[in-house]
């Protein structure tokens, strides 16, 4: 009897210790608190900002899973984001690579000092990617795009894939770090075509290092 009591006491003590250890762990913040904090932290933001501070369904999912969604969630994201892709009306996916290089170099636009805008928004591709051999000031958040078209033999399929990746990267890579340049209205279809030309034209310096 005494032995059983002793075992019970040890067990209860262990449970209590485990319970208090759990209480030490920090509870994750809830959506309501996060939203409230975000809304109150940007008093100078214009009226359309509060919804943009939250992020849409895909962004909420990617935030929740720290950009590592389950296979099932990834499929849902790819389908949703793929549906957002708008193609050029005449079906021509390649524009002017010279203009594309300018779009890739420019980080202008959408910063709170860029209002009212004095020029078109840039893609700022060099912030994260290597593109031409000549430009040594390139970032490494994304993979190198040097010889992108050449490696893919300038195929039509890869031209379409490149367009889709720029327009909405999540259609191909759910929870990609890359901005949804087309879907979010950062770049126009014409600008995206110019970037596709930069990547996929044989004459482009990307493919002629």
């Amino acid at each position: 009897m005494r032995q059983q009591l002793r075992i019970m006491c040890v067990l209860l003590a262990w449970i209590a210790a485990a319970g208090s250890a759990c209480a030490q762990q920090i509870k994750a913040a809830d959506e309501v608190s996060i939203d409230a904090a975000m809304r109150s932290a940007f008093p100078k933001a214009s009226a359309d900002w509060p919804t943009r501070l939250k992020g849409d369904e895909t962004m909420q999912a990617c935030s929740q899973y720290k950009d590592a969604p389950s296979a099932e969630l990834a499929r849902a994201i790819a389908a949703r984001e793929g549906a957002s892709i708008q193609y050029p009306p005449n079906g021509k996916l390649r524009g002017d690579w010279k203009r594309g290089e300018q779009v890739a170099q420019s980080g202008y636009g959408l910063r709170f000092t860029d209002y009212p805008p004095t020029r078109e928004t840039g893609g700022n591709c060099y912030a994260c990617h290597q593109l031409t051999k000549q430009e040594v000031s390139y970032g490494t958040v994304g993979p190198s795009l040097l010889e992108y078209g050449k490696i893919r033999k300038f195929s039509e399929a890869d031209t379409k894939a490149a367009y889709e990746k720029i327009y909405n990267s999540h259609a191909t890579f759910p929870c990609s770090l890359m901005p949804r340049f087309g879907a979010n209205g950062v770049l126009t279809i014409e600008q995206i075509k110019d970037l596709v030309a930069l990547l996929m034209s044989p004459e482009s310096p990307v493919n002629r290092p």
């Binding site: 904090a37 933001a45 935030s63 959408l110 910063r111 709170f112 970032g139």
Partner: protein, 278 residues
Amino acid sequence: MKTIRRNVCAAILVFASGLAGAVHAQQSSDAIERELETYRSMMRSDPWSNPGMLDVDRGETLWKTPGGPNNVSLEGCDLGLGPGKVDGAFAALPRYFADADRVMDVEARILWCMEKLQGFERAKLLNRPHPGPGMPVKDLGAIATYVAYRSNGRSFAAAFSHPKEKEMLALGEALFFRRSGPMDFACSTCHGDSGKRIRLQPLPFFSKPDEARKIVGAWPAYRVSTAHVMTMQHRIYDCFWQMRLPEVELGSDVPVALISYLVKQAEGGEISIPGMKR
């Protein structure tokens, strides 16, 4: 036979020169990095070589001199260790303050003291609180630099024991990974991996304590390219600018939460103010 041998030799030469080129590039990069490290250690060995020390000095004067409509000094300001106690206060921040019923970092707390003790108008302090290029850090930032300097040599040791401190830390972690805005950026988009850079600017991986410990203790830092001291609240304000989000208010819960997260990741890391940045 001769043709094959010639082609093979040519191939080996091309391969070797390519390899040598790559090795040379790496050696140049290593040599540059060694020179930079020599420069940095020389700066560290003589703290007065950092122009940010002028703002530490100015901050000390501002702390001790009566000012504001109430004409009182900040020596009555409680930074968490009791009124006027400056040594080690920065190392224990952010923390909960009962009088404000809020968790505050060093800049939010100094803002509070400037308002409540010295009588400065809060709205005026919050309006354009950060310097433009070539302009010196504002008074609040200079005081924060001085206060941080008085924790040099200590390690980050904020307790995060009060329930509101725990909430703030949880909020900071959630915000760090929260993607939003037209570019779908979160802090983690850029600061979520090792060895990455934007253009040529290396990016610390803040969720890795090893890296956080090396970086967080250098802020406030003297920014060479803009010739002024940049405080942590200013650095975060600038991040939001690049992330295509609106102007974040100094001392509001969002930057305080993010600073809490950074300081927690940097726990045990050494404080060495002012740092020196690009």
